[in-house]
Assembly symmetry: D2
Homo-oligomer: 140 residues x 4
Amino acid sequence: MEAYKHKIQYYETDKMGVTHHSNYIRWMEEARVYLLDDLGFSYKKLEESGIISPVTNVECKFVHSTTFDELISIKVYVEEVKSVKIKIAYVMTNEEGKIVCKGKSEHCFLDVNGGFINISKKMPDFYEVLLKNQSEETQG
Amino acid sequence: MEAYKHKIQYYETDKMGVTHHSNYIRWMEEARVYLLDDLGFSYKKLEESGIISPVTNVECKFVHSTTFDELISIKVYVEEVKSVKIKIAYVMTNEEGKIVCKGKSEHCFLDVNGGFINISKKMPDFYEVLLKNQSEETQG
Amino acid sequence: MEAYKHKIQYYETDKMGVTHHSNYIRWMEEARVYLLDDLGFSYKKLEESGIISPVTNVECKFVHSTTFDELISIKVYVEEVKSVKIKIAYVMTNEEGKIVCKGKSEHCFLDVNGGFINISKKMPDFYEVLLKNQSEETQG
Amino acid sequence: MEAYKHKIQYYETDKMGVTHHSNYIRWMEEARVYLLDDLGFSYKKLEESGIISPVTNVECKFVHSTTFDELISIKVYVEEVKSVKIKIAYVMTNEEGKIVCKGKSEHCFLDVNGGFINISKKMPDFYEVLLKNQSEETQG
């Protein structure tokens, strides 16, 4: 999968002159949506079929600051797939190829009433695709 | 009604060193929610009773810049009330009493299916309260 | 100039199920930055040469709601150019070509000390490019 | 120290009907600023004296969803203080006293040129206050 690209917007900076750290969490979501599109199971379609996948855990290590007008490349890795949850890792680099941020997120699957969904039973084809795309190495 | 207070957060600033202009639009929403609470018809209750009130128009005149840690006072005025729409005006001042921003917003009332609601018929008590609180002067 | 494209992100929606109105103000900034890039005077370069251009006025008419995963096309028009300020208009359409939002913004030019800059004297080449790209019609 | 209070805004929700997870990261910043104010070393004053304190690491465990109009209480704990970095923990509860989110952040101290600052030497009084307020227990 190609890296997702995010152009840093002026409104994403803060008075330190750099990108406000909360935005990296949002870019992780952008990259995750892009991954799902790429796997053929868009988040929009998942929601339309009555499945939501809220974030249960998020972490982010800020390695190098970024700012307005930079183009960030975000590689997304399916790090762990279980029937009821999934772990995703993100590695973000700037135009010089320097790592600027490393992130992880965990998600569960819920139905419209908030009940947990076993994705391997409810959507076996989606589960298979996730498994097949699981990374062999974990991202630091 | 007392002015609504908003403490400016670090994440609301941008690399110019001042508050990013898009946040004033959000503070208008905060102040509007506060006004409705004060009038006894909280926005939460309106939504629970099946009424939403989307913004159809917004304008904002930025008079003086603001930044992190300032406390902004926002006065809210019901400028015009009709059966199907409402106009609200906002005057924001800093701690020195200087006007920093003047805004206006217009809203309609919709039911859960997106159909227009005539608020004077559907919620006459709310309509009366809005009318009674209508400002006598318009805010520039 | 080609329209600027914005893919609506999940974090830009609100509990009404649609895009929160404050984001359109941010997309106007994205489209403006894109316009300046296209004209050969990127906002980044303007800032590096000591010129900032804060928003002094903004208005937005919300015509049709939008939501997650839609691709919005934003046409940007230089509506009025004066030595000390500029007016820009924006017309946003969804994938069906339906107008979803019309916006306007006004900007002045300031130096690093916050003093007004006469752009026709300070940056005549930029001023000429803006004038040459001025739209013949105003956008409603 | 009293808990910091945050009223959830409409613009902080997303189309799932709940608070978008990126906002908790922002509330952690709000609570941290509040803590520094309470300790007598406001972040504004730190910046004015030439010290910035960027986030180098952040993590967040989402325990229970929240939504518009809820009042969240955020307890902030100084978890670890070293000469060059600090760890802060956050426990957020809703109005029923239920834990909704647990977060951690790590920060370094930099001067205006981006060089690392040894806070125990540069600002011994601030360092002492941080040490004195260090929590005895870590927050899971």
